[in-house]
Symmetry: C2
Subunit: 194 residues, 2 copies
DNA sequence: CCTATCTTGGAATGACTGGTCCAAGATAGC
DNA sequence: GCTATCTTGGACCAGTCATTCCAAGATAGG
């Protein structure tokens, strides 16, 4: 009996995600969201709720569709340090060139913004960090050429923090070569000396 | 002949710096600045210009009065890795406890915000990164217990990126013990194996 | 085709945005 | 104490903010 939605909520959410990712929540108005998505204010509010709820939904989508698959691939890649090297190579490539160049990471960006005050957002950020750390830990566990006596948990934490640093600096337009050198220094230091 | 300012611009700028540092530029209104500083809109605009100029001035003050002295101390500290260890210890302490707990680093925060679009801001960010990297490089140069064959420039870049990661995560309320473990992993990996 | 039910466009909301302006007040040399 | 010059308080501005609301439109079962 009822009418049905005249748009695809999932597709709209993706557009919103990209908007918030690139410009940040605080400096993106609802008017802009309406303009980009093409749907009306009514539909937007009826489907997603207010701005904050919309932002959280977009942030969750980012984690689920962008971060998680990459983390999973990292954890499933059995090549040890080579897997981690590949992770960072692709990260730097994506952050510095192509469609999303200089957008940074939506999660990293959320850390710095006032959005972090929302406890729901904080939960997303903490879970993201924990999952990245866990994926790094798994990848390190598969490595056989590590420095003897290395604390794998601590090293995983270090690599996760390093990824955040890469995300931040890439948003300001850092030279990808510099970022790669920094990452190489970290990975080489974890290797067994020969 | 003329009248003279009824307030101390330097003291006002410090209050503004703290405001922007904690809450971010986008989500801090001029009204709030007026309320916190106690001076009027007229004086604010006459002395510092508009919001963006005010933000840039506050950001510059942050670099000059907060970052630079610490970088200088790091570069002047001849203890090698111990100096870097001390730098990170104090950083984590300041970021996670006391007056500025969970404020993050104003420069790191600026990376993620829309403020980074301003080329003047970008210049401040790049210069900050370069100076931190250089201070790390100097500190590494003074070390005698480093892994043989270590690329000091790359290691300095890595440590600078790590600092940004620490800044970000601390703003979201990360456990300081986790941050310390991550930093220790980095520093231990740079050490000469024994 | 009718109607119950949902969606949609767009107008309207009041609060707040950064920024301007000017009369009134303060200052210091004369 | 007079006056030229700057500062100050606060009213005021147009524009934007997120949000609400409702009449008109679309839908699908009967």
């Amino acid at each position: 009996m009822p009418d049905v939605k005249h748009f695809d909520p999932e597709a709209v959410l993706e557009q919103v995600e990209r908007l918030f990712w690139q410009r940040g929540a605080a400096s993106t108005g609802i008017a802009e969201v309406v303009a980009v998505t093409g749907i009306s204010r009514s539909s937007l509010y009826a489907t997603f709720g207010g701005k904050q709820e919309l932002y959280v939904k977009a942030l969750r989508r980012y984690v689920e569709r962008r971060s998680q698959p990459v983390f999973q691939a990292l954890a499933d890649d059995g090549r040890g340090l080579r897997a981690i090297e590949g992770f960072f190579d692709r990260l730097i490539e994506a952050r510095c060139a192509g469609e999303h160049a200089r957008w940074g990471c939506m999660i990293s960006n959320a850390h710095a913004g006032a959005e972090g005050g929302d406890p729901e957002v904080r939960g997303v950020l903490d879970r993201h960090q924990e999952r990245l750390r866990a994926a790094m830990r798994t990848a390190l566990g598969a490595a056989h050429d590590l420095r003897p006596g290395l604390d794998l948990d601590a090293a995983a934490e270090m690599l996760a923090l390093l990824a955040y640093g890469v995300n931040l600096r890439s948003r300001a337009g850092a030279d990808p070569a510099d970022l790669r050198r920094g990452v190489s220094a970290a990975l080489n230091s974890l290797k067994e000396p020969k």
